[in-house]
Symmetry: C2
């Protein structure tokens, strides 16, 4: 689609594999504005990866700082809780993982909603997927549907009849399928960071849940894994 | 109710007349944790009023700083848009007021949801009312109902069957009715600030929409107005 005909979309971009793929998908049909969050996560290398991706695609990139006092009680933000090393297979997930951050996607989407309203955009993209993270309540399609309904009642756009949409192009995809999509769009996955405890250079540990899901994804996709490990 | 039997509630406390009344109501049956937001609003005197109210009631008070780059395009946060002097009667409201802040209540409730989840509370109080502010899409009962549904799908509490509730005790009340409720609970309204452009001492202008609605409320309630004006 020619750039001049594209309407604006807000893309939640963490700098991880999933959100980078979503950006590669969204930019085909939308003029993208990327949003990243600094919420006291242990690893800031993800945000640096998001910056690099935004530069690569020459799109606007906004980093929103979220008051870190709010999000405690998760292994991703709280240094007193250990990040688990073992990979959780979806069928083994019985409870909610310790890496769950309270109301994270709700808060992220609500910021995206505010930005969308200011920028007169009615399209928000988020890279959640229900398959790999079945333990997180806010990664399920029923959550997204309920959020979209709420968003259309909350905003000017919704009230004025411009249906606001939350796009989740990865929601039913496996990690391997996601990687194939991005690979097909020429996305350089070596720029993305998935590790819960990546170092400043964006290198992963290779052991945490997230690293192992990523490795398995490349393996299953039959695509060479460009991830850098420390 | 004895304090030991009370469960925890999160109360959104701006320091205005409505939210102060909600706090007075909520503290009868809940152990309250008050949340205020510093989002680049022109007047910080509201937050100071919130602090004083929390001290008076000896409850926890948390001020969350919201990245101000997000919320532009409103007369309450943008110095280039004039705050209107004339009072908008509900029946005259045809569009959405310029004082509308993009997705404000959605964002505030989402922070409250994160805090509620961390504190294991399943009750959130917000002082919105549909009568006086009929021009704001995010002050309507249908918005709150949709938000509550979404919140129960988004969170641990909801998934585990602990129904999370958004309480709006003022939703169908007029300003006069609200004032009567607070007055009946012994609330000192001189501590509260409603003015869109209050000075540092918490004194109001007496001319803006919010000041005039407040004045009329005390008049209609037949209660002496303790508000301080500059």
């Amino acid at each position: 689609m020619p750039d001049a005909e594209k309407s604006k979309a807000i893309v939640l971009l963490s700098g991880g594999l999933d959100s980078a793929t979503v950006l590669a998908v969204a930019r085909q049909n939308f003029e993208c504005h990327a949003l990243s969050f600094d919420y006291g996560q242990r690893s800031l290398s993800e945000i640096n990866a998001a910056k690099q991706l935004a530069e690569l695609y020459t799109i606007n990139h906004q980093v929103v700082r979220i008051d870190t006092g709010v999000m405690t009680g998760s292994a991703l933000t709280d240094a007193s809780i250990a990040v688990p090393d073992v990979v959780s297979e979806p069928e083994e997930v019985t409870g909610i993982p310790v890496t769950y951050v309270p109301a994270r996607n709700t808060l992220f989407l609500s910021y995206a909603l505010a930005v969308a309203e200011v920028m007169e955009s009615k399209d928000i993209f988020i890279g959640i997927n229900a398959v790999d993270y079945s333990g997180y309540p806010d990664c399920r399609p029923e959550f997204i549907n309920a959020y979209e309904k709420m968003a259309n009642l909350a905003t000017k756009a919704g009230v004025e009849g411009n249906h606001l949409r939350i796009h989740t192009p990865l929601i039913d995809k496996s990690k391997a399928e996601i990687i194939k999509i991005g690979d097909g769009l020429g996305l350089d996955y070596s720029l993305t960071v998935s590790c819960y405890q990546a170092n400043e250079q964006g290198e992963g540990c290779g052991n945490c849940d997230s690293c192992q899901l990523r490795q398995k994804g490349f393996e299953d996709a039959g695509i060479a894994d460009p991830t850098r490990y420390f």
